[in-house]
């Protein structure tokens, strides 16, 4: 189980995340929802070890991540929101690089990399540099890189952005199978539909605080949709007047 205990992050005088406590249980996809600037990406960056928290800690299966950060990071796969990749490399070269940085033996990489390329429909483009890839193809490279070290925990930051319908369906099936093996997924997204279909639990974040936590099964059984809950707990404005104002602005000539 992954546990976040009192995660807090200050950027100068700005409090991005305030005492966030949550768990991702084995066999679970935890949805992590929030409007822009709510602290989602900060949480994800702390969980994957890219950012040090100002206070609080991360625990994985009872071990504090800070005690052995390398061992902790070896158990994590990460798909970032923006597909920042070395675009002068081919997908094969990038995956080999990631595998080597993860300390995987060469014989394993030589087998795994082509397999991932075939299964994620990147095989035909294996000679092209990533610069020539579409956003969806880049997302698939990132997914392959995240899965390469056989992680216990997948941390996904908007992983469906840019994926076509087929790849999206494959991705969903893959995540279900992944947690079916008693692994964990922390799924940060803006998309209610994906959370409703995929996640077993959802956390809603607003202005750096966790403001709601729901079992999806309970939500599905109730009368309120996830969207209703989200709007209510994050105190969103009524969007209809704003939408009308936008259209008015658009019509101005």
């Amino acid at each position: 189980m992954l546990e976040a205990r009192g995660l807090t992050k200050w950027y100068g005088g700005f409090l991005a995340l305030d005492r966030a406590d949550f768990q991702v249980r084995r066999g679970e996809i935890l949805g992590y929802l929030g409007p822009n600037g709510s602290g989602k990406s900060t949480t994800v960056s702390i969980v994957v070890g890219l950012v040090e928290p100002s206070a609080g800690s991360i625990w994985l299966d009872g071990q504090r991540a800070a005690d052995d950060p390398v061992a902790y990071k070896r158990r994590i796969g990460y798909v970032p929101e923006e597909p920042h990749l070395y675009t002068h490399l081919t997908a094969t070269e990038y995956l080999m690089l990631v595998g080597r940085l993860r300390g995987l033996p060469e014989r394993l990489l030589v087998e795994k990399v082509p397999t991932f390329l075939r299964l994620l429909q990147l095989w035909d483009s294996r000679y092209a540099t990533i610069a020539a890839y579409s956003k969806g193809m880049r997302q698939r490279v990132l997914l392959a890189a995240a899965l390469l070290p056989n992680p216990d925990l997948l941390v996904l930051d908007e992983p469906f952005s840019g994926l076509d319908v087929t790849a999206g369906l494959l991705f969903r099936a893959l995540l279900r199978e992944f947690v079916g093996e008693e692994r964990m997924v922390l799924f940060s997204t803006h998309r209610f539909d994906v959370v409703e279909q995929l996640c077993s639990r959802v956390l809603i974040l607003s202005r750096g605080h966790i403001v709601a936590e729901h079992e999806m099964a309970a939500l599905r059984a109730g009368t309120s949709s996830l969207e209703d809950v989200f709007v209510q707990v994050t105190q969103q404005d009524d969007f209809a007047p704003i939408a009308r104002q936008i259209l008015d602005a658009m019509r101005q000539t």
Binding site: V48, G49, L50, S54, V70, K73, Y78, P80, E82, H84, L85, Y86, T87, H88, L89, T90, T92, E93, M96, L97, V98, G99, R100, L101, R102, G103, L104, P105, E106, V110, S125, R126, Y127, A128, T129, A131, A132, Y133, A145
Partner: protein, 553 residues
Amino acid sequence: MKPKIAILVRDRAGWRLTQHFFRALFDFGLLTQAGADSLTHLLLGSVGGFVSAGLLITYLYLGKYALLWGAPAEVHRRAVLGDDLMLVGLPMLVVALVTVIIGESLFPDERDFRVLGPLPVRKSTLFGAKLAALAMFTGLLVAVIHASLFPLLLLTSIHPNGQPAVLSRLVVWLLTGASASLWVLLAVAALVGVSTLTLAHGRWRELPGLLRSAVLGMLVVAVPFVLRLPDSGGAFAEQADWLMFLPPAWFVGLQQVLRGSRDPWFVQLAGVGLAALAAAGLLVAATYAVLFRRFEYLMLRSSRAPGAGSRTDAAHGRDEQATPAFRGVFHFTLLTLRRSQLHQGVLAGIMACGLAIAMRSTAAMAAPFTLMFISGLAVRATLVLPMEHRANWIFRMTEDGNARAEQQRAVDRLVTWCVVGAPLALALPTLWGGTGPRSLGAVAIVALTGFIFVHVVLADWRRIPFTSSYLPGKRFAAHSLVVGGACYLLLTWAGSYLAAAAAGNLRRALAIALAMASLGWLLRRRRLAAWSLTPLMFEDELADQPTLVQLRQ
């Protein structure tokens, strides 16, 4: 009324694109905002540097022209012809160097296609903006160079027996100088354009970049020859045949024709120059036209064809004994050097500087050490330049104290190749040619000095190549010059002394080699131990940046 508004909007888009392309010529697309600001300061400083260099050259020539003041007209004419060659050749060389460096931006490329393609920007606007940005950039560059050489032109124009028409000489020089600079720009653009159109796909895709790096290296090696052009005044006056193959001579011939000479030799030179200008212009125009007509096809073909990846895959199995961390960084660095034209250009350009200086070195023993010093500068300058800085998260996320020393060992090996390999390649033939087999001791000393010098090159090194942000010009230039100069003098003096001591005396050579090998081994061990303890650096720091003490922890 509507069409006028449409034209206005379109023109605005074109102007904004021109501004965008113009700015991109300065930051190479790899700098952070802080880095770009820093580079702007550096470039503004370099304008001042150009002007100062012009004044310095003029000052150096004052003595020569003081002597020529009372000389016969023919002697003065020969001297001026030689200096005219340099006054045309030097701007040509600078323009050629800059054009090769910005070679990736000479034509609309795949990034422009993918980023601007979906926007409501017409293809003609895109191409027009690219050309306009290039014209602005080149115009600025040519103006700055000619302004910096203006005092020298004035100096060469004044003589008691010479023609007093300084103004006409100035106008002709500006005209022919601009033509010569335009020719060299077009020639480099034609080379880049034709090689890109014909080779930049499939398994040859890395060739245009390598070609550009080779041209850059050759241009740098040509610097001393251009600086010696004033010595060619006599050959020019005697109409030596080889001058027909010297591009600056074409445009000096054109100068003479424009100033009224009807000498067939000058007319022939001018004709060759104008023909070359027209040919280069036509080639570039044809390249632009082909690119314009087949933009989509040419931009998309690289995704379809097999390329360098296949050869790289085959190479993966070679170093079976290496650890994954070593292989990861080693292959990443090699691939980046193979594919990034900018990094290749920096490496080839600075190393060619070293070669040019070493070739002019009067002491054969000092030449390998000169090349060693400049190779060290070149490789370090290349490895610190970032590549896709925001993609470094994978290195940050996988940073591991145990693997760090192995990752840095890969850097160490590449630096050793450059710092030891290049000087050895120079030392072997030159020293062997001088003293035969007795030079082997000296050659061994060159190699061992390189192993020790690697430690200096990698002092305070905490990066994975190409992954840290970059702040250009972060040290005070005078400080860098003094420290670098002292380091250079120490290296060449100590290296030459030891190599000379080792040459021809086997016992002494063995003793020196043993001592140096022990020192090199100790330094390397210390370096690797320090690397496993020191965190990697992913954000470049100013030299006077205070170290943050993390009291909270």
